[in-house]
Amino acid sequence: MTGKSDNPILSMISRMISPFIMIYALYVIFHGHYSPGGGFQGGTMLGAAVILSRLASGSELSRLLLGKGIGTLMGAIGVFIYFGTGFLAMLLGGRFLEYKYLARIMPVSDAMARNWGIQFVEVGVGLAVMGIMVALYDDILTGEPDA
C-alpha cells in the first residue's frame, strides 16, 4: 500500500474508528479501579489505535497523529511519571512507592491517597506502553517502503 491507501473505504473507516478506540482505551485506563483493566490494557489499545491509522493512511499522514521519533520519548515520560510518584512519596517522608504519604499534599484520607497514587501510576504505565508500541512499529519499519 503506497502512501495514501488506494482503498478509500479503508482509510475513511480507520479515520472514523481510531478516535473511538482511543476513547474506549482512556475509559479502560481510568476505570481500572472498578472493572478489569488498567494501564497496560489501555496503553496497548491506544497504541493499536495509532498503528491502525499508520497502517490505513500511511506514515506521512499518520505523523500528524503521533510523530515518528516521539514514541521512545513518550515511553521515557511515562516511566518517569511512575518513578516520580514513587519518588515524591519518598521525598514526603515514606518509603519508595508508599502512597500513604501523598496524603500530606492532598486533602484526602490515607486510603484515598493510595487510590490517587494508583491512578497516577496507571496513567504513567498507559503512556509508556502506548509510546513504546508505536516506537517499536516505527523502528521496525525504518527503511522499508512506507507501509
Binding site: 478489569p36 511515562g78 516511566v79 484515598m112 501510576v121
Partner: protein, 99 residues
C-alpha cells in the same frame, strides 16, 4: 546431535509429568496457597490481598491494588522492561543521523 535434542525434549516432558502428579488439584479450596496462614505461620499473601485491598486503597479491583500498590515495584520494573525494549530497537534499527 539429533539424539541429544530428542533426549532433552523427552527428559523435559518426563520432569513435567513427574511434577504434575504432585501438584494440588486445580481448584480445591484447602490447597496450601488458598489457606489463611502458610505452614510456617506467616500470613498467606493472596488471602491478605483479598481481605485488605478495599480497606487499604478503596479500590474494588484487587488485581489493580496488587499491581500498583502492594507489589508496585514489580510493575515499575516491568515498565522499565518495555522502555528497555524501545530503547534497544531505537538503537539497533534507527538510521544514524548525519552529524
Amino acid at each position: 546431535m539429533k539424539i541429544i535434542n530428542y533426549f532433552i525434549l523427552i527428559a523435559f516432558c518426563g520432569l513435567l509429568i513427574y511434577v504434575s502428579l504432585d501438584l494440588p488439584n486445580r481448584a480445591d479450596l484447602d490447597a496450601v496457597i488458598n489457606r489463611e496462614t502458610s505452614p510456617a505461620g506467616t500470613p498467606n499473601a493472596a488471602v491478605f490481598y483479598t481481605r485488605h485491598s478495599y480497606e487499604d486503597a478503596h479500590t474494588p479491583n484487587i488485581v489493580t491494588v496488587i499491581l500498583a500498590d502492594y507489589r508496585g515495584y514489580d510493575t515499575m520494573g516491568e515498565t522499565t522492561v518495555i522502555f528497555t525494549a524501545g530503547l534497544i530497537c531505537m538503537m539497533l534499527l534507527r538510521k544514524r543521523r548525519k552529524p
